[in-house]
């Protein structure tokens, strides 16, 4: 495995239809558009993949996931970098639900014995209910921080990133990349 070049995907998760719910997808486009990369990366609009996340765990050696995060102790726009070990302690798997989301898909991957590196860069959303393609102010403002955090993850994986001369704002990116 190590003798091969890593196969890296940047996977933006969330639903673009519901304001900040889609911030992970916007962050993926923001990163893709505003930087140049020293290695070939696959950028994926993952939408609201459930069990199909397993496809990506299977096909890539390194996965950078950009997503939204719900935690009581932080304000909208707060950015977190969560390594796999942090994720494995997350979520109390509410007793009544049989849900398959990122955390469950990771467990399934563990059960199947799949090997891959994964980190999540996530941001606290403000509004995930309004039906609009426009991101909230705090989420727009924190997008550069989210991108920089994502770049640090990529740097650890040996990928250098360089800002382009005229980057687009998060608002412009969101406006360009909805269906």
């Amino acid at each position: 495995m190590d003798v091969c070049a890593p196969k890296i995907a940047v996977l933006g998760l969330g639903n673009l239809l519901f304001k900040d719910e889609g911030l992970g997808v916007v962050a993926m486009h923001y990163l893709r558009h505003n930087f140049r990369f020293s290695a070939a990366l696959d950028f994926v609009d993952g939408g609201t993949l459930g069990i199909n996340l397993l496809d990506y765990f299977h096909d890539y050696s390194h996965l950078l996931i950009l997503d939204s995060l719900s935690t009581p102790s932080a304000e909208p726009g707060a950015v977190f970098r969560l390594p796999l070990t942090a994720l494995q302690n997350l979520g109390d798997y509410r007793k009544t639900a049989h849900e398959i989301e990122l955390l469950q898909a990771l467990d399934m991957a563990r059960l199947l014995g799949l090997n891959f590196e994964l980190e999540v860069v996530a941001m606290i959303p403000q509004d995930i209910e309004s039906v609009t393609f426009v991101l909230s102010e705090p989420v727009q403002a924190a997008m550069p921080l989210m991108a920089d955090t994502a770049r640090e993850v990529l740097a650890n994986w040996g990928v250098q990133t360089h800002p382009i001369a005229q980057p687009l704002s998060a608002a412009k990116i969101a406006a360009h990349h909805h269906p």
Partner: protein, 566 residues
């Protein structure tokens, strides 16, 4: 019964695969459900974002209604616009669309049974203590050539599970009610199921690849356009078709030699529950039919049954569909056709203790009705109606299963029956896929390579309306579009879970979930496994995809990133 003996149980969320569903039930002194309410907990109002758009673009937005069912919403949306403009698509395009939709049936049914529902019946902890040799022998009781069920296969799966559990966290399996008295499988039967749980993970992933062959980009396909499909090169390339069929063939083997035998095992273990009609609703079933075969028959038969009156099958007529919001958090209480629906929220909140205001409005889901009745949709409805219509691709499969398990048609109207219908449908869907694939290959051989019907958008009528109505894995899906001035004037999607999870209506008629829960007895009200079994048997999926990582109650401060400039 005095109110002091009443006990209320709240289950929230039942599913978060797509959105939130809350169930509240009221128990009598014998722990039997005598009242039930199903509530969708998120306002979505997706339709509002489509107003004013070019009708050719609705499909790309509507597909994002659901993260799991993108393809079927995409297709229904495009078809609604095609119907509005009376554009007939070429046969090849119809078949390519069918190959994608039907592969989704197979994938959805497998994932539903093994990964979303089976743990309501399978005790994973018990599987760890099974004897793999005995389990291998027992697997042969249910099929003469069980799918990869040798002693060493089963022991390997048991080993994987043991390692997973011993790593300290049950994780994936922590949802369950291990040791609950309602579990009936032996340790060996649990191991067989868990072994297939693992195999099904692999197969469902292969089916994703099959879908991608004709749907192009996943998860957000772009292969459909008003008038046809764009995946022309994939259709013409024999290698692509071969890859697709190879995957479906493997899935078919799994269904015939693992899924169906497992279902027979379930039916056998819960025969008394089926015969007692546990989880039976009011018996109003609906199917729009569809998936036209080469001989002008259809894979699924259309029809409507009221109150289990199987001798009075009526024709399905989409003009009989209304939606109302008398008990839903919207302003307009009156039943209206979907073309004239409004989506103005009117949230009346919960009680102070966080329970539903069950006397008033209590759900974000509307109440669709057919001739004023709440209809159950999905595999059970399709299999019952197909059987009654003598549908050539349904009747023999139903007969075979019913004979093997000594079931009658009414038995499919139950919790276990819904699951059995789904497994039978998975089998016959695979076989239908081969029929459609052969027809496509024949067409191409005789140089019919058309995939798109030409039209000039500017010449189309500026006012029109149409519906795209399809049977999809969870039931009847309908998208309705009204076009004015060549723009979308109104848009409504009535999805399968809207039918099944609908709240009561102005007449106080319960929705199918609610009706099916009445009479269920709970062994332990603190662990309401029996309620989950009923609701999960419908394959709930709310049309509202949200995927926030949930870290409630976790300390994450150490992972917080601070802006450097501050």
């Amino acid at each position: 019964m005095s109110s002091a003996t009443k006990q209320k149980i709240v289950i929230d969320p039942v599913t978060r695969i797509e959105g939130h569903l809350r169930i509240e039930v009221e128990l009598d002194e014998h722990n039997v459900v005598n009242q039930a309410w199903a509530s969708g907990q998120l306002f979505r109002g997706i339709e509002t974002i489509l107003k004013g758009r070019d009708p050719r673009d609705t499909g790309l937005i509507a597909q994002r209604i659901c993260g799991v069912c993108t393809n079927v919403h995409y297709r229904a949306s495009i078809s609604a616009v095609e119907q509005a403009y009376q554009i007939e698509i070429p046969r090849n395009a119809e078949i390519v669309r069918n190959l994608v939709s039907l592969a989704l049936f197979v994938q959805d049914h497998l994932v539903h049974y093994y990964h979303l529902h089976s743990l309501d019946y399978v005790d994973v902890v018990s599987a760890l203590s099974a004897d793999p040799k005995l389990a291998s022998e027992q697997a042969h009781d249910w099929h003469s050539h069980p799918y990869q069920c040798s002693q060493s296969d089963l022991a390997a799966s048991q080993q994987k599970l043991t390692q997973f559990v011993q790593a300290g966290r049950l994780g994936l399996f922590a949802n369950g009610y291990w040791g609950h008295s309602a579990y009936r499988f032996s340790a060996e039967q649990n191991l067989i199921h868990m072994h297939h749980y693992l195999e099904a993970l692999r197969i469902q992933r292969e089916i994703s690849k099959a879908i991608a062959i004709f749907a192009g980009k996943t998860p957000h396909p772009q292969n459909l356009v008003v008038g046809g499909v764009t995946s022309v090169m994939d259709m013409l390339n024999p290698q692509r078709m071969n890859d697709y069929l190879f995957i479906i063939k493997d899935a078919r083997e799994f269904i015939k030699r693992a899924y169906l035998p497992d279902m027979k095992m379930l039916v056998s273990a819960y025969r008394d529950s089926i015969k007692a009609g546990e989880g039976r609703g009011h018996g109003h079933f609906m199917s729009a039919g569809g998936y036209r075969l080469f001989n002008d028959q259809t894979l699924f038969a259309q029809g409507v049954v009221f109150g289990h009156q199987f001798d009075q099958l009526a024709d399905f007529d989409p003009s009989q569909i209304t939606e109302e919001a008398a008990r839903s958090w919207y302003q307009d209480n009156e039943p209206r056709t979907p073309y004239d629906q409004t989506t103005e929220p009117h949230y009346t909140d919960l009680n102070d203790d966080g329970t539903l205001k069950t006397e008033g409005k209590y759900s974000w889901i509307k109440s669709p009705r057919y001739q004023g009745k709440a209809m159950e949709v999905g595999p059970a409805a399709r299999m019952i109606i197909g059987y009654l219509r003598d549908a050539p691709l349904i009747k023999p499969y139903m007969d075979s299963f019913m004979q093997a398990c000594e079931l009658e048609l009414i038995d499919f109207s139950s919790t276990i029956g819904r699951n059995a219908a789904r497994a039978i449908e998975a089998e016959l869907t695979c076989d239908a896929i081969f029929a459609f694939a052969s027809e496509l290959i024949e067409n191409i051989k005789y140089y019919d390579e058309t995939t798109w019907t030409r039209y000039v958008f500017e010449d189309l009528p500026s006012r029109a309306q149409g519906a795209g109505i399809f049977e999809v894995p969870r039931g009847t899906l309908a998208h309705f579009v009204r076009i004015d001035d060549a723009k979308v004037a109104n848009y409504q999607a009535v999805v399968p879970t809207t039918w099944n999870a609908s709240p009561k209506d102005g007449q106080n008629q319960p929705g199918p979930y609610e009706a099916s829960l009445i009479g269920i007895r709970l062994a332990d009200p603190q662990n309401p496994l029996e309620v989950l079994r009923v609701v999960h048997s419908f394959d709930p999926c709310l049309a509202c995809a949200v995927h926030v990582i949930d870290a409630q109650g976790q300390a994450l401060a150490e992972y917080r990133i601070q802006p450097k400039s501050l």
